[in-house]
């Protein structure tokens, strides 16, 4: 759909862990056109520490209630301020931005791999996959049990395999260490998380010949392709993460 700029009303702000929270926003007529993997550019406020907008993935869309969610990690001034918003406040967004995950091929076995707040765009994708007839598995990594969110929504979509760095929940280690990768065979991976994690997953997938898409979180100034700040080096040269991405097939990336 065409990009738009609008104020949205916050209907809920829910704290999940010490540093993760979900903002739920009231949608409008555009909501049916949001695609999994897309993001929005959030105008936090006018303080000098948050001059530019902040890019945040579309986490979940509720077509019945006509709302959508953003899953956000407090990282600095901007996200801290967002965490202080409450129902009734309004938030200016440019939306929906970027490309989206591509649909899998007929009968493919799918794994959704998320690390920390990187799970944000994957829930929307998982629900989409379910709606078109797939039952993907989840492989999710967190720092520790306390930093793990409630995974009920994810379990409704498929099996959840979990890792934590300290072993306080699921298997100990990084997602790429999880035993499921030895035991099961997947045809396609969708992945989002910290850069080192995505690189490790990408290298695993290319070794195994698994089709893999990653969602990058490059620094962005505009989000709409006019500043050329968010580039990633690909086989086609430097291209914009905000318009040509954020989702890339790993075969395109020069990693």
């Amino acid at each position: 759909m065409a990009k738009r700029i609008d104020d949205f009303k916050i209907v809920d702000n829910k704290r999940l862990t010490e540093d993760l929270f979900i903002l739920e926003l009231e949608g409008n007529d555009s909501i049916s056109e949001f695609k999994p993997g897309q993001f929005v550019q959030v105008r936090v406020d006018e303080s000098p520490g948050t001059f530019l907008r902040r890019p945040i993935s579309i986490h979940d869309v509720d077509y019945k209630r006509n709302t959508f969610k953003l899953l956000i990690q407090t990282a600095g001034q901007g996200t801290i301020k967002l965490s202080e918003l409450s129902a009734g406040d309004s938030l200016n967004l440019i939306y929906p931005l970027g490309n989206s995950f591509s649909d899998p091929g007929q009968g493919e076995r799918i794994l959704l791999v998320g690390g920390g707040v990187g799970i944000a765009p994957l829930l929307f994708m998982g629900k989409h996959l379910l709606s078109i007839g797939y039952r993907p598995d989840w492989l999710l990594g967190f720092r520790s049990r306390e930093r793990t969110i409630d995974l009920e929504d994810y379990r409704q979509i498929g099996n959840v395999f979990l890792t934590t760095e300290d072993g306080s929940a699921g298997e100990k280690g990084y997602v790429t260490n999880h035993s499921v990768l030895e035991e099961k065979r997947y045809d396609r991976v969708y992945c989002c998380g910290p850069d080192p994690m995505m690189k490790a997953v990408a290298s695993y997938c290319s070794r195994k010949g698994i089709n893999c898409e990653v969602s990058l979180e490059n620094l962005m100034a505009c989000g709409i392709g006019i500043c050329l700040c968010c580039i990633v080096t690909t086989v086609k040269g430097n291209i914009c993460t905000c318009t040509d991405g954020p989702v890339f097939n790993i075969t395109e990336l020069k990693w």
Binding site: I5, P48, M220, A221
Partner: protein, 305 residues
Amino acid sequence: MVNLGFSIGNLHFKNPVLTASGTCGFGPELDDFIDISSLGGLVVKGTTMEPREGNPYPRMAETPSGMLNAVGLQNKGIDNFEKNIYPVISKYDTNIIVNVNGSNIEDYVALSARLDRLDKIAAIELNISCPNVKKGGMIFGTNLDSAREVTRAVRAAYSKILIVKLSPNVTNIVDFARVVEEEGADSVSLINTLLGMSIDIAGMKPSLSTITGGLSGPAIKPVALRMVWQVARAVKIPVMGMGGIMTWSDAVEFFLAGAAAVQVGTATFIDPQAPVKILEGLENYLSQKGFSDIKDIVGYINRRK
């Protein structure tokens, strides 16, 4: 009705609000948000003869009321522009201006000559002030002899409206404005970005791959305004002002200081509708203050003493 039109030489602009180079893509990127044809002009992004990949990531850092960028003139070159972009943007009913860059005088001249043949390109903006390339760019804009030489050479090769974009990273910007005026520039635009830097203290390393980059946004507005004021008093050719214009009231400051037109840059990243909102606000201000022509306020602060 307020008359917002102005001219540079024989080129008429329907109003004095343009987009700034490198901050509006080629125009179509903004089609979802605004009608480009409603603006006075579109200054497309920095173009070079050959394709360029620009600088490595990371290329940007936020700073108080501003940002640093180190894009480094990434573009697909003039052949691609002529073939793929020009046909698309020719549809805009406004003045299209190409921002011209090169590593040496020959490049600048060759590119200007190519652009001279494109009917729908109303003017070029000679960028001798890009701080983000190792060769050319700011080196021309911070040395008077080089500024003179490149302007002279391009003037000889280009028949239409020549705007020269000046660097603020100099001791006396007025000298540069005078020199390029002498060499036949039809207008000067200023300011390009201030050379700045920022450090990621967690990583203990520079925030940009290139260490230094170009500072833009409201932070630089006082410097930009001062330079526009200085230059507008010193030259006879029209001055295009820019640097940190976020709202119509910022734009009014530039007109009062002597700018004949303004370009909107970084503001568009935060609000893609900014150029149009600024235009509307400007028109409102003028009619509320009872002015019938934008020219009535250009350089106003110099008039009464």
